[in-house]
C-alpha cells in the first residue's frame, strides 16, 4: 500500500508540467458554450497540440498509435492537465475514450489504420449513437434497423441524446442486423459518417438552455459493410467493451476539478460571511471528506487496473455511483454559499449546478449502476 509515485512517474509529471506551462498560453480563447464550430475548433486544436507533443492517446496501446502509458501515467496526465487548467477532452470525448479504444481492441488492421490516426490528430470527431427514444437503460431493445444490400447496410431508425452530434464526423452506431434473433444477439456496431445522405440531426435543448445533445434521424443511410467493427450480430459484446472504457477513467479530471471548486466555495463563503454558519461550514467539511476519498478511490481503482494488466474493473460503477451524487451535493452547497445569487446564471457555479443533474443519468443511471454492483460484484441473483 503506497501512495508515493515512482521516480519515473515523477519525471513524467515534471516533463508534462513543464510542457503545459509552455503551451497553454498559446491556446486560442475559449469559445462560448453555444458556439459549436468554435468549440470543435478549440477542442481539436488542443488535441493537435497533444499529438504534436507525443501525448495523444497516452493510454492507448502503441500498435494503435498510442503511447502505451501505464494507468498511473494516465492518471497523472489527467490530474496535471486539470490542475493546469488545460481544456477538457470535450468534443474528442467519444473518439478518445470509447470509439477509439473499441476499434483498437476489436477492429481489423485496416480499420485501425483508417480511424485511429485522425482521432489522435484531432482531425475527426466521433459521437455515440446508442440510445433511442424507446431504448435507454434497456439498450438491448434498440430498433434502428440495418438491412444488408450487397456490400452495404441500409440503416433506418432514430437515435436520441447524441452528444456533440452537431459537430461529429463519425458515429459509433448500434443497429439491429437480425430482428429475429434474441435481443442481445442481433445487434451490430457500425462506424457511420455523419454527412452520409439520410442523416438528419436535430438539436435538443437541455434544461441548462444549451444544445449539448441532439436527436438523429436515419433514413435509408448506406453504410459500407466494411465499416462494421466485430462480427455481424456480435455488437452487444463489442458494446460491453465500449462501456467498460467509458466508465474506466472518464471522471478522473473531474474529481480534481471538484476539489478545486470546493476550495473556491470555502473562500467565497469566508468572503461573504457564510462561513460563520456552522451548518454550512460543516457541510463543506463533509464534502472535503467525500472528494478526498473519491480521489483515493480513483487511485485505488487505477492501481488495481495496473496490477491486472490495464483492464478497467467494475470499480468504475462503485465510483460513478458515489461521484455523481457527491457532485450534485457540491453544487447544492454552492447554491447555499451563493445565497440569492444562486438565481443568477452569470454567477459561477449556477450553470454547473444545472449540468450536475445529468450525472446520475448519463452513462448509465444510478439505478442501473446499482444493478451492476449488486449482480456483478456482489453476485446477487438476476431479477426483473
Amino acid at each position: 500500500m503506497d501512495l508515493a509515485y515512482t521516480e519515473a512517474e515523477e519525471e513524467f509529471r515534471a516533463r508534462l508540467r513543464e510542457w503545459l506551462a509552455a503551451v497553454l498560453p498559446s491556446l486560442p480563447a475559449k469559445p462560448s458554450p453555444d458556439d459549436w464550430p468554435g468549440r470543435r475548433a478549440y477542442d481539436t486544436a488542443w488535441q493537435r497540440m497533444l499529438y504534436d507533443a507525443g501525448y495523444a492517446g497516452l493510454h492507448w496501446p502503441v500498435d494503435a498509435g498510442g503511447q502505451g502509458a501505464t494507468p498511473t501515467q494516465h492518471l497523472i496526465f489527467l490530474e496535471e492537465t486539470e490542475k493546469a487548467g488545460a481544456p477538457y477532452v470535450g468534443a474528442n470525448f467519444v473518439g478518445l475514450l470509447h470509439a477509439g479504444p473499441t476499434i483498437a481492441a476489436e477492429g481489423t488492421a485496416e480499420q485501425r489504420a483508417r480511424w485511429l490516426p485522425p482521432v489522435l490528430r484531432g482531425d475527426e470527431i466521433w459521437c455515440q449513437g446508442f440510445s433511442e427514444p424507446d431504448a435507454g437503460s434497456d439498450l438491448a431493445s434498440l430498433r434502428t434497423r440495418a438491412v444488408r444490400d450487397g456490400d452495404h447496410y441500409v440503416v433506418s431508425g432514430q437515435k436520441i441524446w447524441t452528444s456533440h452530434a452537431e459537430v461529429a464526423d463519425w458515429c459509433e452506431l448500434l443497429v439491429r442486423t437480425d430482428p429475429t434473433a434474441p435481443r442481445h444477439r442481433g445487434i451490430s456496431w457500425l462506424a457511420m459518417r455523419m454527412d452520409a445522405p439520410g442523416v438528419t440531426v436535430r438539436p435538443l435543448r437541455t434544461l441548462a438552455g444549451s444544445t449539448e445533445f441532439a436527436e438523429m434521424f436515419l433514413d435509408e443511410v448506406r453504410v459500407p459493410v466494411s465499416h462494421r467493427i466485430g462480427a455481424e450480430n456480435d455488437g452487444w459484446r463489442v458494446t460491453m467493451v465500449t462501456l467498460s472504457f467509458e466508465r474506466g477513467t472518464a471522471f478522473v479530471g473531474e474529481v480534481v476539478a471538484c476539489r478545486r471548486t470546493l476550495a473556491a466555495l470555502a473562500a467565497e463563503a469566508q468572503a461573504n460571511g457564510g462561513w460563520d454558519d456552522p451548518v454550512l461550514r460543516r457541510r463543506l467539511g463533509r464534502l472535503n471528506a467525500e472528494f478526498r476519498a473519491l480521489w483515493r478511490l480513483t487511485q485505488w481503482n487505477v492501481s488495481e487496473a495496473q496490477s491486472s494488466g490495464g483492464v478497467p474493473g467494475t470499480g468504475g460503477s462503485v465510483f460513478k455511483l458515489r461521484y455523481s451524487h457527491a457532485r450534485q451535493e457540491l453544487y447544492e452547497a454552492a447554491a447555499e454559499v451563493l445565497g440569492a445569487d444562486a438565481a443568477d446564471l452569470d454567477r459561477e457555479w449556477a450553470l454547473d449546478r444545472l449540468s450536475s443533474l445529468s450525472y446520475t443519468i448519463a452513462a448509465g443511471t444510478s439505478q442501473i449502476q446499482r444493478n451492476i454492483v449488486a449482480e456483478r460484484i456482489l453476485g446477487l441473483p438476476k431479477g426483473r
Binding site: R281, R292, A293, Q299, R370, R384
Partner: protein, 329 residues
C-alpha cells in the same frame, strides 16, 4: 504508485483473520455474549503474543516494527469479528504502559465527557486532553493535545470514587461514567498524535464492521426466499446491498490512504466516512434481515450498537467536519 495491499500485508490480514476465527469465531462470540462480558485475559494475552499491541513498537523494544497501515489491517479484522475490549487504547499505550505491549495489562481510555469502556477491568487508563478545537473543561486533567496514563492506586481511586457504571448500549462494552477528579498521571509523549491514531484505528474497526454487515446482508438476500424467489432478486433489496458496498469501499480507500499519509485532515475524513458506513450499513443489513434482524439472535444489532458507540469515540462527526472545513482554508 501502487495503492494495493502488498503480499506481506495480505498475508498479515489472512493471519489475523484466521487467528480471530479460531479464537473468537461466531460460537465463541455468542458464548462470550451470554457468559458476561469481562475481558478474556487469556485471549488478551494471545493477542499480545501475536503482536496485536506491539505491532508498531520498534523491534529493538520487543515490538514487531510495522506501521500504521498494518495496524489498520489488524483493527479492520477486529471490527469484522466484533472483538471486544479497549483494543485501541492498549495498542496506543504499548511501550508507555507496562505490560500493554505483551497483552498483560488492559488499558482503557478516558476522553472528557465520554463514558469509559471496560474501566472495571482496566489496569491502566489513558486520559486524553481535549482536542485542539475544544475548550478545556473544568478540573485538572491533561492540557489540550496532551495524554496521560493513570495506573495503580490512582486508577483504583477513580474506579472506587470518581466513576459509576452505566447500563451500556453495547452488551460487549461495559461503560462507566467518570464524574469526579482523576489523578494527574504520567505524561505521555506525542499526545495529539495518539488522538489521531486512535481515530484512525476506530475508523478501521468501523470499516471492518461495514464490510462484514455487507457480506451478512448479501448472504441472507441470496438465501431467504419470499414470493417464490430469493429476496436478493428484488431490486429494492439489491439496491440496499449495492449502496452498502459503495459506502464500505469508499471508506476503505479513505481509511487506507489515511494510514499511508497519517495526515490529520485525511484521518478526519476517514473517520467520518467509516462511521457513516458502519452505522448505515448495519441499519440496512438489519432491514434486509426483516423480523429476524430485530432479534437478539441475529448478530447485526451487535454491529450496529458497536458502530454507534465508536461513532462517538476519538473523533465525533462534528469535530471531524470542523477539522475538514478548517483544512479548506
Amino acid at each position: 504508485m501502487d495503492f494495493q495491499l502488498s503480499d506481506d500485508q495480505r498475508a498479515l490480514r489472512a493471519g489475523v483473520r484466521e487467528l480471530l476465527a479460531g479464537r473468537f469465531g461466531r460460537d465463541r462470540m455468542r458464548a462470550a455474549l451470554d457468559g458476561g462480558t469481562g475481558i478474556d485475559r487469556a485471549l488478551w494475552r494471545e493477542l499480545g503474543e501475536a503482536g496485536f499491541f506491539a505491532l508498531r513498537l520498534p523491534e529493538t523494544e520487543g515490538g514487531v516494527g510495522l506501521g500504521l497501515p498494518e495496524s489498520v489491517l489488524l483493527f479492520e479484522e477486529a471490527g469484522r469479528s466484533l472483538l471486544p475490549g479497549p483494543l485501541i487504547a492498549t495498542h496506543l499505550a504499548a511501550g508507555a504502559v507496562k505490560g500493554a505491549a505483551e497483552g498483560e495489562t488492559v488499558v482503557a481510555v478516558l476522553d472528557a465527557g465520554q463514558p469509559v469502556g471496560h474501566l472495571g477491568d482496566a489496569d491502566g487508563l489513558l486520559v486524553l486532553g481535549p482536542g485542539e478545537a475544544r475548550t478545556p473543561g473544568p478540573g485538572s486533567g491533561p492540557e489540550p493535545g496532551e495524554a496521560r496514563a493513570v495506573t495503580g492506586g490512582a486508577l483504583r481511586d477513580v474506579v472506587r470514587e470518581a466513576a459509576r457504571p452505566v447500563r451500556s448500549l453495547d452488551p460487549f462494552t461495559p461503560l462507566w461514567r467518570v464524574t469526579g477528579p482523576v489523578g494527574p498521571g504520567e505524561l505521555l509523549s506525542g499526545g495529539a498524535r495518539l488522538r489521531d491514531e486512535g481515530a484512525l484505528l476506530a475508523a478501521a474497526e468501523q470499516l471492518g464492521s461495514a464490510a462484514r454487515t455487507t457480506e451478512m446482508a448479501v448472504q441472507h438476500a441470496g438465501e431467504r426466499e419470499q414470493f417464490g424467489s430469493p429476496i436478493g432478486s428484488f431490486q429494492a433489496v439489491k439496491h440496499l446491498c449495492a449502496g452498502m458496498l459503495v459506502r464500505a469501499e469508499l471508506a476503505r480507500s479513505a481509511v487506507y490512504a489515511a494510514a499511508v499519509t497519517a495526515d490529520r485532515a485525511e484521518i478526519a475524513g476517514a473517520k467520518l466516512l467509516a462511521d457513516d458506513a458502519a452505522v448505515r450499513n448495519a441499519r440496512d443489513c438489519l432491514q434486509v434481515h426483516g423480523g429476524m434482524g430485530f432479534t437478539w439472535e441475529a448478530d447485526v444489532h451487535l454491529h450496529l450498537k458497536r458502530a454507534w458507540l465508536r461513532s462517538g469515540q476519538w473523533l465525533t462527526a462534528a469535530a471531524a467536519e470542523e477539522a475538514l472545513a478548517a483544512d479548506l482554508c
